[in-house]
């Protein structure tokens, strides 16, 4: 009897609760809905609210701005190196300082610029593009940003204090080991890696879960924008690649800190072990940077040619197969180490095979241009610059996949030319294009077209002047990572040209920044869909409100905004008085469940500060490990402390 009363009372309570719940729907829409969603989704004001935010747009913006600052810092180092190399036998910069410069330049560009900026753009845009209100695990997203920030600050603070690393961005053992790099320089490098690993893994989890579970209803995998496909493949690659570097940098730290001998040949360790583990991560790393950029190219090409990308399935398969092949060719970085020569044949073949998916993707972009009628605004110019430049880098990549050719070209300026063609031509050009393209989305204003065009031509021509001559420096016998070179080897002219070009590139990047800052205040107000794009990020206001979309849109094709002239169909029934988002099924994207979205919290920040203290102090003492995990554990326990579980009424989605 008692039992029945309790059940009835509970049912009545739920019925009352249900009446109190507010949902969006035909009865609640327009300005009224916007105001109520704004109240629910807005973060608290003030500095604490700023630090506690879990809004993917704020985190994405911080990621992008921080990464661009690191780009500028890394670029200044490049200029210093080019000043030193402009003339033979130059004595402007000492050997030690130069070695720090190229180590910092490489580490900053790879770990603190290229990967994070791609994560940042994705974290900002992916939820908008997929038509959802938030990323999955928004607090983990905030944690990932803070870890990245602290890792970057650690590296640069050390450099400023003259304990910056000098072992190269690849830190080969035994040079980076305790015997040949006393002091703390190599430890700083290895621990910065730990920070970026944690950060990248967290961001990868956020992106994978968002892409697989938070897509708008109807956005099946086969209708997903190609940028989302690129980020999905990239994030999965991060999850497979990062453990290798976690392992090898962890073993390096333990060699240096507690005297293990993993890499010490005289104690039965192996110096080459490092190279295998490092490149098992390091080669996929290049594609981790490049694949998001191919996503950018697909986005821009589709919009400016006003055609869906030609052969969508081919592009998707190309992305996936590039992601898989990337893990089978690390040994091409080790052709000179004396491994069995016939075995190298496999890695030559695997390295060349990557040219097939990439070549097909390029064909698909060009075919889209052929079928459509491209407009050449600044983002599209960057796509053309990308194709003209990147293909050279891809083809020199085929050249150095050949063992006999690589044995000459390996570790020369030919390689420096090759990977700058691939990374600047293949990733930075599309990035500059996409930043111009999404600038109105992020800020609500357009960037100056005139400054943008001047900037494009400056960077395009300056880039060729900087890096094309490096092919010749390499063939003429100039190794990488040398702080100077003797006169009389024919290296004077190519190096001088490279140095002049570097300053032109720097001017172009500065112009881009000036354009970005000026347009923040003076740029023309952006119309709702300034480029006439097809994807969902343009279906909401610019900049988007904290809740992204008043109603979650429904998708019926690959190009929703082109296929619906008026309003998009929407799904209603999500709570308005609580942060809530709609999850859909992985493949078919049918509505699956309503998911409560976490509120802003300081715990991600506190947890990352605790982790940073733990990581940094473990550079100096092994005791930091047992002691340092305690504050981390406290912060994480507080972060994950079970919330009061209210028995909420069953959802009704209409």
């Amino acid at each position: 009897m008692n039992e029945m009363t309790r059940v009835r009372k509970e049912d009545e309570r739920l019925a009352r609760e249900r009446r109190k719940i507010v949902r969006d729907g035909p009865k609640l829409t327009g300005a009224e809905l916007d105001a109520r969603l704004e109240r629910t989704w807005r973060r608290p004001p003030g500095i604490l609210g700023w630090l506690a935010t879990v809004d993917h747009k704020e985190i994405g913006r911080r990621y992008i701005v921080t990464a661009l600052l690191f780009l500028a810092a890394g670029g200044v180092l490049a200029l210093l190196m080019r000043i030193q190399l402009a003339r033979p036998d130059s004595n402007l910069i000492s050997a030690q300082r130069y070695n720090e410069l190229f180590t910092m330049h490489g580490s900053t560009m790879m770990f603190l610029f290229a990967v994070p900026v791609m994560e940042g753009v994705a974290v900002y845009i992916i939820p908008l593009m997929l038509g959802t209100r938030s990323t999955a695990f928004p607090r983990l997203n905030a944690f990932s940003y803070y870890m990245y920030l602290f890792g970057g600050l650690l590296l640069w603070a050390a450099f400023m204090l003259n304990i910056g690393p000098d072992v190269g961005w690849f830190a080969y053992t035994p040079l980076s080991g305790p015997q040949f790099s006393p002091g703390k320089r190599a430890d700083i490098w290895a621990q910065m890696i730990t920070f970026t690993e944690v950060s990248a893994l967290a961001a990868a989890v956020v992106l994978i879960c968002t892409i697989l579970k938070a897509r708008a209803p109807g956005m099946t995998l086969a209708r997903m924008p190609l940028f989302a496909w690129a980020m999905l493949v990239q994030a999965v690659m991060i999850i497979f690649a990062m453990p290798a570097i976690a392992l090898c940098s962890g073993m390096l730290i333990s060699d240096r800190l507690i005297g293990t001998n993993f890499y010490n040949a005289s104690e039965h360790g192996d110096a080459l072990l490092w190279q295998h583990l490092f490149w098992f991560f390091g080669h996929p790393e290049v594609y981790i940077i490049f694949l998001p950029a191919t996503g950018f190219v697909s986005v821009i090409t589709e919009t400016f040619c006003r055609r869906p990308i030609f052969a969508y399935p081919v592009v998707v398969l190309a992305l996936v197969s590039t992601g898989i092949l990337a893990f089978g060719l690390w040994v091409h970085h080790m052709f000179a180490t004396g491994l069995p020569r016939v075995g190298y044949g496999f890695y030559t073949a695997a390295s060349m095979t990557v040219a097939i998916p990439t070549g097909l993707q390029i064909f698909c972009w060009l075919a889209t241009m052929w079928e459509g009628r491209p407009r050449f605004d600044v983002p599209m110019l960057y796509v053309v610059g990308f194709i003209v430049t990147f293909v050279i880098g891809g083809l020199t990549g085929v050249i150095i996949a050949s063992v006999p050719l690589d044995l000459q070209l390996h570790d020369t300026y030919f390689i420096v030319a090759h990977f700058h063609y691939v990374l600047i031509g293949g990733a930075v050009f599309p990035l500059l294009g996409i930043l111009t393209y999404w600038y109105p989305k992020i800020t609500g204003r357009m960037m100056s077209e005139t400054l943008g065009k001047i900037g494009f031509w400056l960077i395009f021509l300056g880039f060729q002047l900087t890096f094309f001559p490096m092919h010749f420096s390499g063939l003429l016998g100039m190794p990488r990572r040398v702080y100077t070179y003797p006169a009389g080897l024919g290296l004077e002219l190519p190096n001088l040209l490279s140095s002049i070009g570097a300053f032109i590139v720097a001017a172009a990047v500065a112009l881009f920044v000036v354009n970005g800052l000026m347009s923040l205040y003076r740029g023309a107000l952006a119309p709702p869909n300034p480029w006439g794009a097809a994807s969902l990020e343009w279906a909401t206001a610019s900049p988007p409100p904290p809740y992204n979309f008043p109603h979650v849109p429904i998708v019926e094709s690959r190009s929703p905004l082109w296929d619906h002239d008026g309003e998009l169909p929407v799904v209603t029934g999500l709570r308005v008085d609580e942060k809530e988002t709609l999850l859909t099924t992985v493949v078919a994207a049918t509505p699956d469940m309503r998911e409560p979205v976490p509120y802003p919290s300081l715990w991600p920040l506190i947890a990352s500060v605790a982790t940073a203290i733990f990581f940094i102090s473990s550079i100096f003492s092994p005791w930091a490990v047992p002691v340092g995990v305690i504050p981390c554990a406290i912060a994480l326990i507080a972060w994950f402390w079970p919330k009061e579980l209210k028995r909420n009424p069953e959802p009704v989605i209409t």
């Binding site: 030559t348 053309v384 006999p404 063939l475 296929d563």
Partner: protein, 341 residues
Amino acid sequence: MRIRAGAPILAVSVLLGGCTYQHYQSTFSDAAVEVRQFNILFVIFLVICTIMYVLVLAFLVAGIVRRRRAGIANVIEDGRHHQSDPLMRTGLVVWGALVGTGLIGLAIASFSADRSMASAASRPRLSITLTANQWWWDITYNSADSSKTIRTANELHLPVGVPVRILLNSNDVIHSFWVPSLAGKQDLIPGRQNDITLVPQKVGVYRGQCAEYCGAQHAKMALVVDVDSYGDFLGWWEHQLQPAPTPAAPLAKMGYTYVTAGPCSACHAVSGTPASAIVGPDLTHFASRRSIAAGVMPMSEGNLYGWVADPQSLKPGNHMPTIGLEPDQLHAVVAYLETLK
């Protein structure tokens, strides 16, 4: 059967590089079989890659130009009903086949070149042990007769036309042996032994340089390779077997005492004297070499003074300390070193 495949690249390099100079440290060389094969293979790759690049650019330009043609409306295609051009679908298949075929061809060319390079160098007639150190090269010429073994540093002498097997070791970190005019790279790795076989085809002097970043003075770890006729080479070897003569001049004699019994002998060896340490380069025929401090500067009296007086300012961070010689000691040491022909 002399194939001059290096010539086209040479022409390109001179044209674009705009400079003519001796191919002292360059891959544009015909001084060894392996480098000639490198040049042939490089040209094959370059030609095929250029064709592919031109095709991509042509397609790009065609796409851009076509846009100006009338009849293509600048309207948005409906994504659901968009039909791709059948011409493009055929094109995609053809392009994929073209890329695939090109790559298979290049892979076969690469693999056969690799095999032929390996077989060309199969029967070495001379064995040398090269040990890399931060930042110099320790060289031992091996001989079945141990009294014929010689040790020298930073200057390799090779007989022309004779396959030479060089055993590669490292005493500290990873270095890479690279003489671009004679062969590709091979790393010197502590705890492992690698080897490389060279077949120099042209008498001349070549320069090599460490190609794996190895610390502070990686940039100044060069190696001079002197390819001689077989007769000259044997003469050089005979000469290297001679112990250093005891000097007669008083100044050089004072230097002899200082070098062979003083601080220099803690690291260096001079054969025929008490100095026999193997930490640093062997000095027995030091003055007969072309350069000082692993290619940092040419051998001359002035440079010798500079180097002995203050090695740390000429090659900062290197492992030879500045020991603060008095002027008369410096004169004596240099005078003695100059007798070590």
